[in-house]
Subunit: 135 residues, 2 copies
Amino acid sequence: MANALEVVGERWSLLALREVFFGCTRFDQIAANTGASRDVLTVRLKKLVAAGVLEKHQYSEHPPRYEYVLTESGRALHNLMLMLKEWGDEYVTQGPLPLVWQHSCGATLEPRVVCAACGEEATPESLTRAEQVTH
Amino acid sequence: MANALEVVGERWSLLALREVFFGCTRFDQIAANTGASRDVLTVRLKKLVAAGVLEKHQYSEHPPRYEYVLTESGRALHNLMLMLKEWGDEYVTQGPLPLVWQHSCGATLEPRVVCAACGEEATPESLTRAEQVTH
DNA sequence: AATGTGAGTTGGGAAATCAAACTCAGGAGG
DNA sequence: CCTCCTGAGTTTGATTTCCCAACTCACATT
């Protein structure tokens, strides 16, 4: 957790990534939609690129224009963002939700975290420490 | 997401909550295990209590001693923390993982986010915007 | 009486944040 | 050709936060 937070735990990082997920990949859009100040956003995006979460692509040479795209590592943050939104929706946000996801099965998405092996929910009580495993 | 980050998005908040999940519920323990400075930790814990994520219980009157316990809202952060750890393990942490969870089914936990309705994975491609729903 | 512990407070300097203005490269319009 | 506009940052100067070490205060222990 601490390692993950080193990379995406600073203010604006996750909101910037949310914008990229939404297809807002350009600097000015991200700045406008997140509310981050431009200087801080510059630093955050550089850090995310350095960490391999985003890549900076030049999509036009004349004039020089850039966009930020997700790497695999960045795309893998989708689950984290779903849970963050879910918790916020459930316990923080008052009134109507600004966004509701519909799953391809037709239902309104209610995300659940399960064990990949057995499909049962991963609750705090269902977990115990395992012996060290080399990564 | 932004609302959730307002509550748990500041530095040390999630690490403090991790400690409480681990059963380290006392101020000095949390400070030592997270590395947060004591003054900042004081502010964070107060904010988490105010937000209804933690409760401060006095478990001894003479001498006066306190512990922080999770509310339902706090316990609901478990999923978020699992995903944060999972992403860090997968894309940030080098070398052996400091902690591996075993699910009650016997397998090493590999958390997956699925749609509660159909049990299929909730990928970015499987989601579309739904119409507004009152909370 | 002296020392220890838990749970913070306090103080001062370093670092990060903010908003607004500025830069720079390159169109677009007249 | 001259002026205005846009995207993508930089710069600047004024706040806020953060960090760390030392201090407090109420009890307990030796």
